[in-house]
Amino acid sequence: MHSLRGQVAIVGAADTEVGVVPGKSPTELCVEAALGALADAGIRKEQVDGLITCNAFAEPIMYHAEAIAEYLQIFPRLCMSVNTGGGTTFSVLQHAAAAIVTGVADTILVSMADSLRSFMSREQAMRVQSSTGHPQFEQPYGPTVPAYYALIGQAHMAEFGTTAEQFAEVAVSCRAHAALNPTAQMREPITVEDVLASRMIADPLHLLDCSLVSDGGAAVIVTSAERAGDFPHPPVYLLGMGEGHSHEHISQAADLTTSAARVSGERAYAMAGLGPGDIDFAQLYDCFTPTVLVELEDLGFCAKGEGGPFLQSGATRPGGSLPVNTHGGMLSHCHPGNPGAMFALTETVWQLRHAAGERQVADAHTALVHAQGGIMSSHATLILGREAG
């Protein structure tokens, strides 16, 4: 197989203001993120010949990427919006890399934004996200998004003895990182007791086990490794990529406690020629706390069933052996829906540039970022590094 290892790099990255951002539509945030990434890369919009976006729940547009290109007045050779839920953000990097290596496009702008907080009521946001359930055979039972993930959490507890305290460690760890990040939506440190004392949403998930509802956008510029040295900032190379798709509806998952993160991770590690022990920090999709625990296991950072003790060891906290979600994750930084993991990618770029300020992971060279969409359905793993190989 033709390996994409080290062939493309991220040369520009930007976030918009995140959290509660009233007065800016998802389209405006998407464009703002795009302009920020162009400025960071030191290029003009005319130099972009590929555009990849995802749709916005709060402002659905039938042909989203085309509309964004028109708004920006760019005329790309490659133009598409992708929709694999939260996994979209990283699965598109594989498409972008393949397009660049095959000459379909040279410089690709990936920009995503949504405004679940300010442009939708809480009920609308809840319903639109719950519509991921099967329309005939799941949705009538009224499962909320937290409920879908609670089904996984409960299964993990029954199979491995995992506890609510161990799930809570994920929220506590993310908040500890967010406390170091001036842009995070929630920065006040919390304890395991705080998580357990917060309102029960869907057993075993408490309010603080659930990610935020936010507005925001983020964008990156991807180009070939050959051109990557011609930009103002050190390039961040894509060393490994992999996807795994196991189901769409949770009632159809072959396994409730092992996800397709296992195969997406294996594919990414194989391409990079690296393993879990080579990773300096990780950004793991954290829509709900059990998601991170399962991903830690499936991506090989600990054995199956050992996610709870691994979290309780403090490994994922600032200064730990594997800092996770160094920006604060979707639990504490922001979660505007499908674009949620884009902020994990931009954060990874700044960490690998050694430009993450107070929260910089010491001597960070290699990172793994992972996102998933649906209900642990569509998984995408990226491994990024400061060197091309």
Partner: protein, 136 residues
């Protein structure tokens, strides 16, 4: 606000007709002899196309569950128990556990189907914990 009602298709109508009749029906593959859920136009095990509806036992076990403490809309009065049920015939389906306290539910508990009429046209399969005397 109303509950979310399923919109049957020609393919799934025998399932929903069964629910109205008080019978849980599953597709059975003539090729490989296995059952599947949800209804499809091919067998999810062997890709065979000869599928026939059969009455299921209506019995199963709790694969996992959660107690929804905040309903998806005002039409869904919390708390309610959403569960995945492993049917005796093999397939897994989502449903509700009714007439039980959340603390009495454990994963693996045996359950039996029942039907709730939600409208003139729609009856929804729900499950009850089996009584202890029937567990022998």
């Amino acid at each position: 606000m109303k509950r979310i009602l399923p919109s049957p298709t020609p393919l799934s109508e025998p399932y929903w007709q069964g629910c109205r009749d008080g019978v849980l029906r599953l597709q059975h593959c003539n090729g490989c002899g296995r059952y599947q859920f949800y209804p499809r136009n091919l067998c999810s095990h062997c890709s065979g196309r000869e599928l026939a509806w059969r009455d299921a036992s209506g019995r199963g076990r709790v694969a996992t569950f959660t107690v929804v403490r905040r309903g998806v809309s005002p039409a869904y009065e919390a708390p309610y128990i959403v569960a995945l049920i492993d049917l005796a015939e093999g397939p897994r389906m989502m449903s509700w556990l009714v007439d039980t306290e959340p603390e009495d539910v454990v994963i693996g508990a045996p359950v039996t189907v029942d039907f709730e009429a939600w409208s003139d046209d729609v009856s929804m399969p729900v499950f009850r914990l089996e009584q202890e005397e029937s567990e022998s």
